[in-house]
């Protein structure tokens, strides 16, 4: 086994020496700064930290340059056009201490249904949350109950039951941080994440 691994490694090194490689940083969808660190076999590092910053390497040469926007779009059109749709999230809110949706949130169902049916092979994740009224244990149970209620409502709307995952995070992930026992409507919510 060891010899085989060493051979595989050697093969990777030899073949790697013949390959030419290019890495291009794209602007992030949310416009926030982002970066890629490219590490070589010899441990040297190269940082791409501006949109369309690029590196091309072959046979030991390693060039940093700025790639053109249009050139990237045309040269990589096939791979860029095959990108899956970015996931989309809805947040829906509940009446205090219950698993009953507020009327405004109930009205969002049509949009959720549209988002799900518009996607190829849709997957839905429902995550329940609570405010800090009540014990942690009760809130864990309530958040799960909210997520399950949400799933049942989505299934009743005709959305694929088997592909809806549920999770409850209790009061661990507050949207609005509060002291304990504070009744905060914005924390009583479920996220419906669709991908």
């Amino acid at each position: 086994m060891k010899n085989k691994s060493a051979l595989a490694l050697l093969a990777a090194l030899l073949l790697g020496a013949c390959a030419s490689e290019r890495v291009i940083l794209l602007p992030s969808a949310d416009g926030r700064p982002s970066a890629v660190v490219v590490r070589d076999l010899d441990g040297s590092e190269l940082l791409l930290d501006r949109p369309y910053a690029a590196t091309v390497r072959s046979l030991g040469s390693n060039r940093l340059y700025q790639e053109g926007v249009d050139q990237t779009q045309s040269r990589y059109a096939p791979v860029l056009q095959a990108r899956p749709l970015p996931p989309f999230s809805f947040t829906l809110y509940f009446e205090s201490g219950s698993d009953r949706l507020t009327p405004e949130s109930r009205a969002q169902f049509a949009r959720i249904k549209h988002e799900v049916t518009a996607r190829p092979a849709p997957e839905v994740m429902v995550i329940g949350h609570t405010d800090r009224v009540g014990t942690r244990a009760d809130n864990d149970a309530l958040s799960m109950q909210r997520a399950q209620t949400m799933r049942d409502l989505l299934v009743a709307e005709g959305l694929l039951g088997g592909k809806i995952e549920v999770a409850g995070r209790g009061e661990r992930e507050l949207l609005v941080p509060t002291a304990d026992e504070v009744d905060e409507a914005r924390n009583r919510r479920v996220e419906v994440s669709i991908r």
């Binding site: 086994m1 085989k4 691994s5 060493a6 595989a8 490694l9 990777a12 073949l15 790697g16 020496a17 013949c18 390959a19 030419s20 490689e21 290019r22 890495v23 291009i24 940083l25 794209l26 602007p27 992030s28 969808a29 926030r32 982002s34 970066a35 890629v36 660190v37 490219v38 590490r39 070589d40 076999l41 010899d42 441990g43 791409l48 930290d49 390497r57 072959s58 990237t72 990589y76 096939p78 791979v79 860029l80 056009q81 095959a82 990108r83 899956p84 749709l85 970015p86 996931p87 996607r119 190829p120 092979a121 997957e123 994740m125 995952e165 999770a167 995070r169 994440s193 991908r195």
Partner: protein, 151 residues
């Protein structure tokens, strides 16, 4: 990562290729499939139609007219262009704690990436490997192209 770490990681990867995990974890799902696209899994070749689950250790291979898009469970978006070979070397994700790790290999062709929740929570647990380099990410979209004929 030092050179010795990198070599250690390479060896683990090649052993993984010889002895696939008994029950491979689901890493994601095919969302876009154009032209010829297959998944090579434990000696089998499966058509990668939309809705096909993608498992750890799967090899995604596209033909000359092929392209494929995969959404991983942590919302990472991957797509591969024509004449590509992309391998899910490692993927684990807990959707409650958001802990996880992933390592994706680009053997040849083109791969575009928009990283997801694992890269947001623990960027050091995410890497992309080409025949000559390892890419680390900081909340990122990028393209990798590998010319050559490595399988």
């Amino acid at each position: 990562m030092t050179r010795s770490h990198w070599i250690a990681a390479m060896i683990v990867t090649s052993i993984g290729g010889v002895c696939p995990a008994l029950a491979a974890e689901t890493a994601g799902m095919v969302k876009v499939s154009r032209g010829q696209v297959v998944i090579e899994r434990q000696g089998e070749v499966l058509p990668a139609v939309v809705g096909t689950p993608v498992l750890v250790a799967d090899r995604l291979r596209t033909g000359r007219d092929g392209a494929v898009g995969v959404t991983l469970r942590d919302n990472t978006l991957l797509s591969a262009g024509p004449d590509s070979l992309v391998v899910i070397d490692n993927f684990a994700f807990n959707s409650s704690t958001l802990d996880g790790r992933m390592s994706i290999g680009v053997r040849k062709g083109t791969l575009s990436v928009a990283t997801g929740k694992i890269a947001k929570q623990t960027p050091e647990s995410v890497d992309f490997r080409t025949p000559t380099s390892v890419l680390g990410v900081r909340g990122t979209e990028f393209i990798v192209e590998v010319d050559g004929n490595e399988e």
